[in-house]
């Protein structure tokens, strides 16, 4: 198939960006979206032009590096799919496709389609862990966890940290990302000692990074490639309130 691409180009964080038009022919429906961009980049290099910079790595939907807002949707039109797992069979010959970076105040553009998502790392550094040193802890089976809770914790832990939730949110909120981590640990017995401290620190860092607040649009859940549920946001809100009113035991 033949496609017309409109791609965001931006030299560096300070320069002004613009949409650039490109034509790609010979796109096969078995290609992934990123392989289609590879084809474009090979074409650009051969023309002596600079390749379009975009983040990607594992190309199997798990590392969370790939991003892109495709026709206005973070990770494109298909539900529960990262950009690298989006295949061209979802598009038609002759389509025009608009490709932009993830847009959010807390994710500044570094170049072209590459954004800086290190705010997520700093939120994790503020409290996204259980404080155990490497040592010889008790036997793993000494602490039973109900299957239901373990499964629910795993639902939350499936987050790949891509940031689509932020890009989709009209407020640029990172509630789903933070809620997933907070919930995973709050559901497990290992997470209890730091339960209150964790949610307070992570939320504080989240606000410091310039993420917006949640006003229940649920756009985050709609675009999440791992289908993390907004119920975890409700859980985080309860955790946060609980941490505020109650004292740390």
């Amino acid at each position: 198939m033949k496609l017309t691409l409109y791609i965001w180009r931006q030299k560096d964080p300070k320069s002004k960006g613009f949409m650039e038009k490109h034509q790609v022919d010979n796109v096969s429906e078995d290609m992934s979206f990123l392989e289609m961009l590879d084809v474009l980049n090979e074409q650009l290099i051969h023309e002596g032009k600079e390749a379009v910079a975009f983040d990607h790595d594992c190309r199997e939907g798990i590392c969370g590096a790939c991003s892109l807002t495709i026709n206005g949707n973070p990770h494109g039109p298909e539900a529960a799919t990262t950009t690298c797992q989006l295949h061209m069979r979802k598009f038609k010959d002759g389509d025009s496709i608009y490709i932009e970076p993830f847009r959010a105040k807390a994710f500044p553009v570094i170049k072209d389609l590459v954004t800086d998502r290190s705010a997520f790392d700093r939120i994790m550094q503020a409290g996204g862990f259980i404080s155990v040193n490497t040592n010889q802890p008790q036997d793993a089976n000494a602490l039973p966890v109900s299957k239901l809770k373990a499964d629910l914790a795993m639902d939350a832990a499936a987050c790949i940290g891509c940031g689509a939730c932020v890009a989709a949110c009209p407020n640029g909120a990172s509630m789903l990302f933070v809620a997933a981590k907070v919930s995973q640990f709050a559901l497990l017995p290992q997470g209890q000692p730091e339960r209150k401290r964790r949610v307070l620190s992570m939320v504080e860092q989240m606000q410091e990074e310039g993420f917006g607040g949640c006003t229940n649009f649920y756009e985050c859940e709609a675009v999440c490639p791992k289908q993390i549920s907004v119920r975890f946001i409700a859980k985080m809100n309860r955790e946060y309130l609980g941490a505020f009113v109650g004292k740390e035991e």
């Binding site: 290099i45 199997e60 797992q85």
Partner: protein
């Protein structure tokens, strides 16, 4: 001359004895030592967190935008441990035995035994960190069996075990970064290691955003930079995975061990066309319930559901009745190649076999299969457009993991003093073939439970001159790297880095892939230098060196692959036997099984750099098997 430093005494006591004999660094003195850790996957992140907790000054480096992106994250199936929770006869000894046997008797017994010993601590540690492993209704941990094992010793978190373990290590690392115990450098790629007075004292990196070439000094350097599977261009590795860090260390004097031991994973989605940038692995846990088959007759083009039972060849069950579909990776991969070479392959290219769940769905119900493999089935459907609940999956082997790597001693130190190598980047534990669910185990064993002990001994027994990055050796490397980059940008030829990479990959896959022979390897040794020569004359890289330039990054990585490929070929040529993943067509039994030559090749081959394009020197570390009897590996 290669001193593996394996402690003497009975194998069960070696590690305990060694730990006692290792010199310690006083708690208050640890902060005076700085460790540079390159790579933040399972091995690197776990080492960074553990060393920081001990009090060392740690700086960690990744070329990704966050440590959480490392390719350890993609491991699906699970992690082995000798817990024997399932009461099916497992033990440390059995995990040790299985790993030595699975590695086709080309791994060091002492290292493997230690790996099996610490495997249990890894599970304890990960559970304490909040890794949400799968559980039974009683609340205890669930286990499953995995390729190459007859016991259920694999712990898992749905199909995302690697992700959950990496996020566990990443959260421990994040905690240390938050407490300013680790300085984290993201989007920085190591270009070279810096030696001062013969010791590894630092690295030179390129900032992938600003393009700046920067020096970093330390008292020891740890490489946890993964494998070199992308030398085949198409592999299950992430796009950025490369050999540069380990190859550059090799050029500085570290020996490269057993590079020809490259694992081909049996269950990947087949190639669909020229545009393909990577191959996607479907967890081999699928082989627990899926049955592998091809049509009995050549050229049978009927859809799979129309081929009656008696016209199907379940070739693994037929040839290896006791292991069947769970036969080790090398055997499964080679068998798939055999039936496809025989003209019975499926998929458009003729290189594919069926992995069929119809029986398992009938026996267990679709909900059980969905619970076990739901996300894998979804992923398959997304990529191939087929629904595996109703039509069999198509799979084919692909380059996946590299058992070879930098040579290390029992302390995980390379032949360069102070340069330690962890995880897939070293060679030590898997011999000629790695068993499923053992890579995660080894990465975390090295990072959490080995290097924190052994690195202290290196510090306690060596003197370190005070240095900084103004040292002439740093300046020399910075200058050389800058010149190399300028040279790459000035070629202005006609072919892109990807084109060269694809060309190299094709040569390597055709002549040094699943089957290898002398004539083919010699041919490849002629072809690779030609591609390399053309690279330096006809490469084109657009953009500049002073900002984020994805084409330049790629070119630098491909340049090193083009040199490295030759050591792999030499190793494959000189190892005149078939063992594990290394199948030399000249050395096989009449029934097609691999024929090992224990008399001449029960050793590690460690290669020493002698100049680009020259044949490297081959050193030998003899392997002694005192506890496991050398035997023909049979899975029949």
């Amino acid at each position: 001359m290669l001193d593996s430093k394996i402690p003497c005494g009975p194998i069960k006591e070696k590690w305990d004895k060694h730990r006692f004999e290792l010199k310690l660094v006083n708690a208050a003195n640890k902060r005076k030592y700085k460790v540079l850790i390159v790579g933040t996957g399972l091995a690197g992140a776990s080492a960074a967190a553990s060393l920081a907790e001990l009090g060392y000054e740690v700086e960690a480096f990744t070329y990704n935008d966050s440590p959480r992106r490392a390719h350890s994250i993609a491991a699906q199936g699970g992690i082995n441990a000798a817990k024997n929770y399932t009461n099916d006869g497992d033990s440390i000894w059995r995990l040790f035995y299985d790993t030595v046997k699975g590695g086709d008797f080309r791994a060091r017994e002492a290292n493997v035994y230690r790996l099996a010993q610490v495997s249990n601590s890894i599970i304890d540690q990960c559970v304490a960190q909040g890794v949400p492993f799968a559980r039974e209704y009683g609340g205890l941990l669930a286990n499953r069996s995995f390729g190459g094992a007859q016991v259920s010793r694999t712990f898992y978190a749905r199909g995302q075990t690697g992700q959950q373990l990496l996020l566990g290590a990443y959260s421990a690392l994040s905690r240390a970064v938050g407490k300013n115990q680790v300085k984290m450098h993201t989007r920085k790629e190591m270009l070279d290691v810096v030696l001062i007075d013969g010791k590894a004292r630092g690295i030179v990196t390129r900032d992938l955003v600003s393009g700046k070439i920067e020096s970093h000094w330390g008292d020891a350097v740890i490489l946890a930079t993964g494998g070199y599977g992308n030398v085949f261009f198409l592999s299950t590795n992430a796009q950025a995975c490369n050999v540069t860090a380990t190859y550059r260390a090799y050029k500085k004097g570290a020996f490269f061990a057993n590079p020809c031991f490259t694992q081909i994973h049996p269950t990947c989605i087949p190639v669909s066309g020229e545009h393909q940038s990577k191959l996607t692995l479907m967890s081999e846990s699928l082989r627990n319930d899926g049955r592998i088959w091809v049509p009995k007759n050549k050229g049978d083009n009927r859809p799979p559901n129309e081929i009656p039972e008696e016209e199907r060849d379940y070739y693994l069950e037929r040839k290896y009745p006791s292991f069947g579909n769970l036969s080790p990776r090398d055997i499964s991969s080679r068998s798939a190649k055999e039936v496809c070479d025989d003209g019975r392959g499926v998929s458009a290219t003729g290189y594919g076999v069926y992995l069929d769940f119809a029986d398992a769905i009938n026996r267990l119900g679709q909900d059980v299969i969905e619970e076990r493999y739901g996300n894998l089935f979804e992923m398959y459907e997304r990529i191939s457009g087929d629904d595996p609940y109703t039509t069999p999956m198509k799979i084919y082997p692909a380059s996946h993991y590299t058992m070879g790597g930098l040579w290390v001693d029992y302390n995980l130190m390379s032949t360069i003093p102070g340069l330690h190598v962890l995880g897939e980047a070293n060679f030590s534990d898997h011999g000629a073939n790695r068993l499923g669910a053992s890579a995660l185990m080894q990465g975390l064993a090295d990072g959490y439970f080995v290097i924190p002990y052994t690195i202290g001994d290196y510090f306690a027994t060596n003197k370190f001159e005070k240095i900084d990055t103004e040292h002439i050796e740093f300046k020399k490397v910075e200058k050389a790297e800058t010149e190399k980059i300028n040279r790459i940008l000035s070629i202005k030829g006609k072919k892109t880095p990807s084109q060269f990479h694809r060309e190299l990959g094709k040569v390597m896959w055709d002549y040094c892939g699943m089957g290898r022979n002398e004539a083919g390897l010699k041919k490849a040794l002629e072809l690779v230098p030609k591609i390399r020569e053309e690279f330096w004359q006809n490469l084109t890289v657009t953009g500049s060196a002073e900002d984020l330039n994805i084409v330049l990054e790629k070119a630098l990585r491909v340049a090193d692959f083009l040199e490295f490929a030759e050591i792999l070929l030499w190793d494959a040529l000189e190892r005149r036997e078939s063992c594990g993943a290394h199948f030399r067509e000249e050395y096989q039994y009449p029934d097609g099984e691999a024929k090992r030559d224990d008399e001449h090749f029960t050793h590690v081959a460690a290669w020493e750099f002698t100049g680009v394009g020259n044949k490297p020197n081959r050193h030998i570390e003899p392997l002694e098997f005192e506890n496991v009897k050398l035997a023909v590996r049979s899975y029949k």
